[in-house]
């Protein structure tokens, strides 16, 4: 590592991230199970509706303790696993290729991954909320239309934040360009 005191090398971090990215694609089901747990937590936090994630599946059950129980299965197309994996792979490549920006790359990746995860949780919450209020029509509208827009906006913001953080000059760093050339 060139600019942060980590005990693992830049290459090791890159390889770990690369494997994590591939794993997010290959073991999407496990990822979705954890995503379902998180989503249940978000629903419990934001609404009076009680939600639980079913063990061993990616299904979020809502309306627990009432007669109006609905289950939502987070499929591979609805999960943020693939995008998270993509960002991990991009980050791994950058880490290996660009030795002087380790801290910024990792920081940018952390922000971007968090934004992607949060965006998908927001999207899932909107779908769950709309379905509970408006039934099948609410599901169709938010799942197909509004949810897609939320995902695209979230991705754009995540990629923008990632690039912006990479392009920022480190605070207090000495000017790297030659000051007097003429």
């Amino acid at each position: 590592m060139s600019d942060i005191p980590l005990f693992v090398s830049r290459w090791t971090t890159g390889i770990v991230l690369f494997i994590a990215g591939i794993a997010a694609w290959s073991f999407g089901e496990t990822y979705r199970m954890h995503e379902a747990r998180l989503e249940a937590g978000v629903v419990n936090l934001l609404s009076p509706v009680k939600a639980v994630a079913q063990d061993g599946t990616a299904v979020v059950w809502t309306g627990m303790g009432t007669s109006d129980i609905m289950g939502f299965n987070i499929t591979s197309a609805c999960s943020s696993a693939a995008l998270m994996g993509g960002f991990c792979v991009v980050t791994a490549i950058l880490l290996v290729a660009w030795r002087s920006r380790t801290k910024a790359i990792l920081f940018g990746a952390a922000i971007a991954l968090t934004l992607i995860l949060l965006t998908n949780l927001v999207r899932l919450s909107v779908v769950i909320g709309a379905t509970r209020v408006w039934g099948r029509a609410g599901f169709d509208w938010t799942h197909m239309y509004l949810g897609t827009i939320v995902t695209v906006v979230g991705l754009f913001v995540a990629a923008g934040a990632y690039l912006f953080l990479l392009m920022r000059e480190p605070s207090g760093a000495p000017a790297r360009r030659k000051a007097h050339r003429a």
Binding site: A158, L163, E169
Partner: protein, 450 residues
Amino acid sequence: MDTGWAIVNTAAALVMGFAAAYFFICVGSGLVQLRRAGVRLGAQSKVSYGRPYDPKHGDPRGSGFEIYYLIPCLNEEAVIGATVSSLASAELDFRIFVIDDASDDDTGAIASAAGGAQVTVVRRELPMARLGKGAALNEGYAHVRADVAARGLDPSKVLVCVMDADGRLSDGAVGAVTALFEDDTVGGAQLSVRIRNRSTNFLLRFQDYQFWTQSSLTQLGRMKTSSVSLGGNGQFARLSALMELGDAPWTEALTEDLDLAISLAVRGWNLTTTPLASVDQQGIESLRPLIRQRTRWYQGHMMAMKRAPEVLGSPNVSHGASIEMLLYLAVPWLFDLPWSILYHLILIQIAITFAGVTATADPVIAWGSMAVVIYVLGFWPALITAVLAYRRDPEMGRLRTLAIGHSFLITNYISYICAWRALFRIILRRNGWVKTSRVTEVPAAPATAS
């Protein structure tokens, strides 16, 4: 099947997410630069061309800078007279070197007649001619160095300007450019490009939109990272910076201008531009030669990717400039080529989704809603750039600007075709090119300093 679509969706999302983020970060930064400079977006929209020494933008001598113009020519008799006469000045002793690359026509004679004593025609003869624009520029550069040495000039106070044979600098451009070089870390500057014959047809209007809105605004954004890309027309470089690159600063690359920008940047020179000056040139009036020109640009751009390690490894390039240049170099590889495939797969997926939606809901409402979502998702960049294009050039009118903005559905295919042709040429190691032809023009009146 689902896994396949998930891979397509993820790849498409990453390509579009990063491409849109990069483009709008550059454009946003460009708008900030303009605001800081107190310049309106449409400031140059009504400027006229052909009087580069008009002092309204500053002293054309710019703190004692001398300017040498290099104009490489191959059969340019249709346009060279007007170009040279626009650069010649009775009051200023700037030198014009026309490098006649073994033309079959009267390019040399016309250039001499148009510029008088300020013009030196450097005639190259076959078989040592027609070896590419870089080779022609390097021969002119050797003459510049010899002349600078003979006159005892300080190379850091000498600017070398590369012009196309059909290029015209905007009124007062020289004063605006020399002001940039008063910062002694600036090694190069590139002017925004306008298409002179843009009102002739749609293809020309589209080229002007690309140059004047998309490219120009991103170039202004690159001022922030001092990584403005150099082009083949309206390209200024400090002689002392060029001298660091040896006897041949321009390489044999198909995009020798991009190569020069990288070479200067990795040596720590800042590259910039200005919203106060521009250069105009002829656009290409028909599709086939346009595709030929763009394929050449793509090939050069794609081959420049091999210089990415230099950029990332240079201790002289700032972090922002490194990532900006890396993204710029990667655009054909990571955006144009993959998107040309992903885009069509997404269309197929949308068609399948349409069928699924209409099977479960009212077809009119379902199709209408889907159409609105697809439009918003697909065209939001077009809507934003259309607004910017209108503000950049209000004369275009709102409707025409909106139409041009949406035309990318069709015009993107030019990029797709050119990127794939370029890739095949790289694989087949084909580097030969036919030069772009011009339309005949009448010489303008000689430029003046006041």
